[in-house]
């Protein structure tokens, strides 16, 4: 301890310089690994390219790729799917995770790790196992869900092939997978709320709902911002779950084809890297706009972020 303190005092920094030193790792890594890919994909958005011919095969096409993307039915369809899924899978995550975290925080002591662990497990379960399990549950002829529905006289539903049921199913899987993740984040935030705040409130005669509403929620607000931002960003870039559940093609009538899945397919299946780059920049604009709105909604009064 003593040597460490000594070391730290040698490395004494002026308060003015300190913040730059603290964020320098980010800046350096971004300069080395982040800038070039950005410029590359921006450049590519104005090119027509057959990648297997090598870098020299790029051909400047002006705004063609953007024009193509904006006039592409499938691109718009994929954007709509993305927004639908982001809302349907994202909003419930927080509406459930916050009360759940509060409840676990207040009411579970002995089995707390176990219960949090159980909710967290989907986040670490292999996606292959998840895919097999869900296709087994939702299979038309043999699936457990249809078997169950059959017992109460409902005719089998073709979950995986019917566009109307495919989207809710994907939303459900996403919700299920990330619920525990959000619970863990909110639990971490709940732990920072000083106990005496509640004690004072109880003495003032505030009920549980009032405490939840006036103490808990405002206290974890920065974390809600964090969680919602992640859901917005993650939801708009949703890829893995729809990709696996639709066997990589977006499903019947592309009902499960998110913008990210479409981008991937444009580049690696349909061999159109220029078009995919243009689309990824258009998607970027959408994500920025929505993140900005989220930011506004959660902006702490008076603060400048």
């Amino acid at each position: 301890m003593r040597t460490k303190a000594h070391l730290l005092s040698i490395l004494r920094l002026s308060p003015r310089l300190a913040p730059y030193v603290l964020i320098s790792p980010f800046l350096i890594l971004f300069a080395v690994f982040g800038v070039f890919p950005l410029l590359f994909s921006l450049y590519l958005a104005f090119q027509s390219w057959e990648p297997t011919s090598g870098l020299a095969a790029m051909e400047y096409v002006g705004l063609d790729n953007f024009a193509f993307a904006l006039g592409d039915e499938w691109f718009w369809k994929s954007l709509k799917n993305t927004l639908w899924l982001a809302v349907a899978a994202g909003a419930p995550q927080h509406l459930v995770a916050i009360p759940l975290a509060v409840f676990i925080h207040n009411s579970f002591h002995r089995f707390r790790d176990g219960i949090v662990g159980a909710y967290f497990l989907p986040y670490i379960t292999s996606t292959v196992a998840i895919a097999i399990m869900f296709s087994a549950l939702f299979s038309t002829d043999f699936g457990l869900i249809n078997v169950g529905l059959g017992l109460v006289g409902v005719s089998p539903i073709d979950w995986l092939n019917e566009p109307n049921s495919l989207k809710p199913m994907i939303a459900m899987v996403v919700f299920w997978k990330y619920l525990g993740f959000n619970v863990v984040i909110y639990l971490a935030a709940l732990q920072t709320i000083p106990k005496d705040l509640y004690e004072a409130a109880t003495m003032d005669g505030a009920g549980r709902w009032q405490q939840f509403w006036f103490i808990t929620l405002p206290s974890i607000r920065p974390m809600i911002y964090f969680g919602v931002t992640l859901s917005v960003v993650g939801g708009l870039q949703l890829f893995e779950e729809p990709f696996i559940l639709t066997r990589g093609n977006g499903g019947t009538d592309q009902a499960g084809m998110t913008a990210a899945v479409y981008l991937y397919r444009m580049a690696f299946d349909f061999n159109d890297f220029g078009g995919a780059s243009a689309m990824s920049w258009l998607l970027f604009i959408v994500v920025v706009a929505l993140t900005w709105l989220t930011n506004r909604a959660f902006r702490p009064r008076g603060a400048a972020t």
Binding site: R16, A129, I130
Partner: protein, 276 residues
């Protein structure tokens, strides 16, 4: 122990939460069940509900076809390195963004956010070019260094620090003549502990499951991390699903252990009374 019930009718709430937990457990359970089944049985409908006796056989196929334990070792190495670096870099930047004032702060933070918003798989080809230029192809550092100052981590730390670290405490420390790095190391870091636990857990898991980056840079089977190695079992037709499931199940065990440890840490961070 003092017991504070939640706002709902206690019994019902416990039941709902308990049942919810059971539902989330099911696929996890199946992963271990599948790990003990032959590939023929995994494809049954309904799928097998109880453990089978093919575990050893699956394990045999797995270790014959892959340098499995070696791959496991690399995964642990990469995930640990990635976690340590991420915790360090992100807590530094997150603290700066949350509690310090400096020029270009807003612009720099916007930059951080922007890196999170860009669709990432358009980066495969340029990333490959960078790794080649650095001579990092087939090197594990290419897996844990580039992402170590992730926007996600910085944002998490910033958000957490803004509630958990009281400004007055830092001012007081400055008054006492404590250096800036000293403040970071001795005051801020301990206060960030619950969030560090969370970020560490999430970083470890995402490193563990990442296959895009290893796919770009790794070339030899001996150096693969687990997801890439397990994927390489999947052929067009003749996939050893049993072995794949066994591999996936084994791959989850370190994460379980980690979770058990870090959740203890999270709670320890709380009861240590770090906040006032």
């Amino acid at each position: 122990m003092k017991h504070t019930p939640g706002p709902l009718a206690p019994w019902m709430a416990y039941v709902v939460v308990g049942v919810g937990a059971l539902i989330t457990l099911a696929p996890f359970y199946f992963m271990f069940v599948f790990a003990t089944q032959s590939r023929t049985d995994i494809f049954n409908l309904p799928p097998p509900l109880w453990f089978g006796d093919d575990l050893l056989n699956n394990l045999k196929i797995l270790t014959e076809r892959l340098p499995f334990w070696r791959n496991l070792g690399w995964s642990i190495y990469v995930a640990l390195a990635s976690t340590v670096l991420t915790l360090l870099f992100c807590s530094m930047a997150g603290y700066a963004f949350a509690l310090m004032e400096f020029r270009f702060k807003k612009a720099l933070f916007t930059l951080v956010m922007a890196t999170m918003l860009l669709p990432s798989f358009m980066n495969m080809i340029p990333t490959f070019m960078i790794m080649d230029a650095l001579g990092w192809i087939d090197e594990h550092r290419a897996l844990y260094i580039p992402g170590a100052a992730s926007a996600f981590g910085i944002l998490l730390m910033r958000q957490f620090a803004s509630t958990a670290v009281p400004k007055e405490l830092i001012e007081a420390a400055r008054m006492d003549g404590c250096g800036e790095l000293g403040i970071y190391w001795r005051i801020v870091l301990p206060l960030l502990r619950p969030a560090l636990g969370t970020l560490g857990l999430i970083t470890f898991i995402s490193s563990w499951n990442n296959f895009i980056n290893p796919l770009i840079v790794m070339r030899s089977a001996e150096n693969y991390t687990l997801p890439l190695a397990l994927r390489s079992l999947q052929s067009t037709l003749n996939t050893e699903w049993g072995a794949l499931m066994t591999g996936s199940a084994i791959a989850t065990i370190p994460l379980l252990i980690l979770f058990a440890i870090s959740s203890r840490q999270l709670i320890a961070g709380l009861t240590a009374g770090a906040v006032k």
